[in-house]
Every structure is written in C-alpha cells, then in structure tokens.
Symmetry: C2
Subunit: 228 residues, 2 copies
C-alpha cells in the first residue's frame, strides 16, 4: 500500500516535476497509490518523513523522501521492470537527474514564474511571493516572466539539444522503451504544462513527438492530468 | 591492424577532443594502433574514408569516420570490454556525446581560441583564421579569448554541474569503472590541456579529481601526451 504526497495547486493542478518523476516511476512498476494533495504551506503533512519538500511516499511502514531516493527504493523493493537497468542505467539516470534540474528546470523556471504564482492555492501565494521573490529579487513575477521569455526560449531549446539529438535516432532517451531518464524529463515538461499556457517546443522538434509519446504512456497518465 | 588519423598541432601536440575519444576507446579495448598525425589542411590523407574531419580509423580493410561511429564499430568488432554496456549504456553515451559537444566544448571553445590559434601548425594558421574567424566574426582571437573568459568560466563550471553531482557519489561518470561517457568528457579536457595554459577547474572540484584519474588510465595515456 503506497501513499504519495503530491504538490497541489489551485483547481487540483499537480505541477511538481519531482512528484511527476515519482508518479511515472510508480506507473512504470505497475504499482497503484493513494494520493494526498499537499500544498506548499502544508509541510506538517510530510513531517513524519522528516521532509520539507515533495514528493514523499509511504510504502507500508517505510517513509521515503526525495524523488531520486524514491526511484532507488522502488527498484530495490520492486526489482521487476527496472527503472534503471544495471550500473549503466543508474549512471545515466543520475546524470539526467542533475542535467534536468540544472540546465532544463533552471531555464524554464524564470519563463513561467508568473503563471505559477497565478495558479498556486490562494493560501500559498504569500509563501511563493516570499521564497521566489527573494530568489529573483522582485515580486512582480508577471514582468519578470515577460522579460525572461525574450532570450529564455532560445536558451532552453539550446539546452535541450543533447536530448534532441538522441531522440532523432531513438524513440526514448533510454532507447526503444522508456525508463527513468525519460520520466525525469517528462516530469520537467509536466511542470509548465500544468500551470502555464506557454508552449516550449516547436511542433517539428523531435522532443515534441517524444513528449506526445510520454503523455500517452500508462493509459494517458500525463495527458489526463489537469493543464494550465 | 588499426591505423588512427589523429589531428596534430605544432610540436606534435594532439588536442582534438574527438580523436581523444577514439584513443581512450582503443586503449579501453586493449587494442594498439599506428598513428598518422594529420594537420587541418591535410584532408587528402583521409579522403580514402570519404571524410573531411578527424578522427578516421582504418581497421584492416574497413575505414570508419566520426568518433561516435568508431565507438560503435569497436564495440561490434571487439565485443569484449564493452565501451557501452547494453542499451542503457549506449543511450547514456549518446546523451553525453551530445551534451559534451554542445554544452561543454561549446563553452570552452571561445575561452581558448587564441591559444589554439597560437599552437596550430604554421601551415594551418590561414585555415583556422578563415574558418574560426568567420564563425566568430573576428580574427583577433587573443582579444576574443580574453573577453570570453570574463563570463565564460562561470558558464562552463555551471554547465559541468550534472557531471559534478554524479562524481560526488561515484568514481566515474559510468559508475565504479570508466566507460565511453568518461572517455568523451576526458577527451573534452584533453583538448584545452594540449593547447592552452588555462586551468578550467578548481582543485576542490570533484571533476578535477576525476580528471586526474582519467589522466592515469592506460599507463598514463593522457598524462604523457604533450601539454600546452
């Protein structure tokens, strides 16, 4: 019996890229889970796991925090259908995890922070204004986002080039079938999809077609999720 | 019997990051090779392979051009000690190949183009001035390099962050033992090492320690190579 604490925005939107890594990973394993929507300011719900960030899962009596630790836990506890195949698969996933966090999430964030702020739960707006405001040096997220998009789109599309090259030759980042590296990057795209109308990819981009395939997996797990 | 056509600079320096991928790959397989130093303007030496770029190998009667194609060829022709372990290993290496080309080589190039120009063979200087000059919009490579270093070092070190995170937890990008992803990034560092005095890494960077390990491999193949 697995419980997942999943970040929630207004209108039951679920944008967290890290929680999406875990949702795709659970679905890959064929596991079902009970969902606990958790707002930014509901840290008390995950205090039992000694965590201040999502996702957190409770798998039987075991609490696991952090999407990477959860992926390792799932491969250990449920070794069939590995998320990471062998040492090479784990090394690949670890690299993609860092690359997505730094190069891709980092490029998307400034372009959608205004839309994000608009869609968090009303009771979480002050928290976002404080934390993101001090990081960005402004609380006018709409203006910040507008300025960021001017150069940001080209930066993002360039940063995605290694994935684009791979996806010109193969169906998934992991090869013929998807594995954890695909779920990491798919989670990254579920994030803007769930809270911003901004389209990040050109239709003829091989990553666009890959994203469509990812949205269809697991009976449309990603596609059915509430969009911006 | 393998022949490698390897890019040569003045004083027998061998900086090509792509040729280094192949040299590390050959050494990983325990193969020996005959070396044909080839200048930028000696394309006639590799015309037999229908190639205008290095590396090229001749393996018996088979000509193979392009470092990626050579790596695939070596794993097929010499399946022991795989460079890429299974489909995950190949997917990982393919991703790192694109990432190194775009994010890392692309960040290093403007910071060392002046040093590179200074060290190409005298008969290749006009070729470099024309090709790199038209790409950069100037032939004053010394001034260009100086300006590029102001912001370029921070950009490079940030771009390396996914590798840094992996190398905090594991000895090589590929895990406990090196494989083709490591040789790709090692080749990238052999490039400035062979033609520029610029140090790109801080001594306490986990990538610095990894690079030392890579220089020691195969009886010091990288360490023994002529430096700037």
């Amino acid at each position: 019996m697995i419980t997942l604490y999943d970040l929630v925005f207004e209108g039951d939107r679920r944008p967290s890229p890290f929680c999406w890594r875990t949702k795709f990973a659970l679905a890959h394993k064929g596991l079902t889970w009970t969902d606990v929507p958790t707002g930014f300011t509901e840290k008390e719900k995950i205090a039992f796991a000694d965590s201040k960030a999502l996702p957190v899962i409770k798998d039987g009596e075991t609490a696991v925090k952090d999407s990477w630790a959860i992926a390792l836990h799932l491969d250990k506890a449920y070794p069939e259908r590995p998320l990471m195949d062998g040492e090479a698969g784990r090394a690949f996933a670890r690299f993609i995890n860092g690359w997505a966090d730094i190069a891709i999430n980092g490029a998307i964030f400034p372009m959608v922070i205004g839309d994000l702020y608009d869609r968090v739960r009303p009771e979480d707006k002050d928290y976002i204004a404080e934390t993101r405001g001090s990081r960005l040096g402004t609380k006018d997220f709409t203006a910040f986002q507008r300025a960021a998009r001017e150069k940001g789109m080209a930066t993002l599309r360039m940063a995605l080039e290694p994935a684009r090259r791979a996806l010109r030759d193969q169906k998934f980042l992991s090869g013929a079938v998807p594995a954890y590296p695909d779920y990491i990057l798919a989670g990254t795209f579920m994030w803007p999809r769930s809270m911003s109308p901004l389209e990040l990819l050109a239709e003829d981009d091989p990553i666009y077609a890959w994203r469509e395939r990812m949205l269809d997996l697991f009976d449309g797990l990603g596609r059915k999720a509430k969009t911006a």
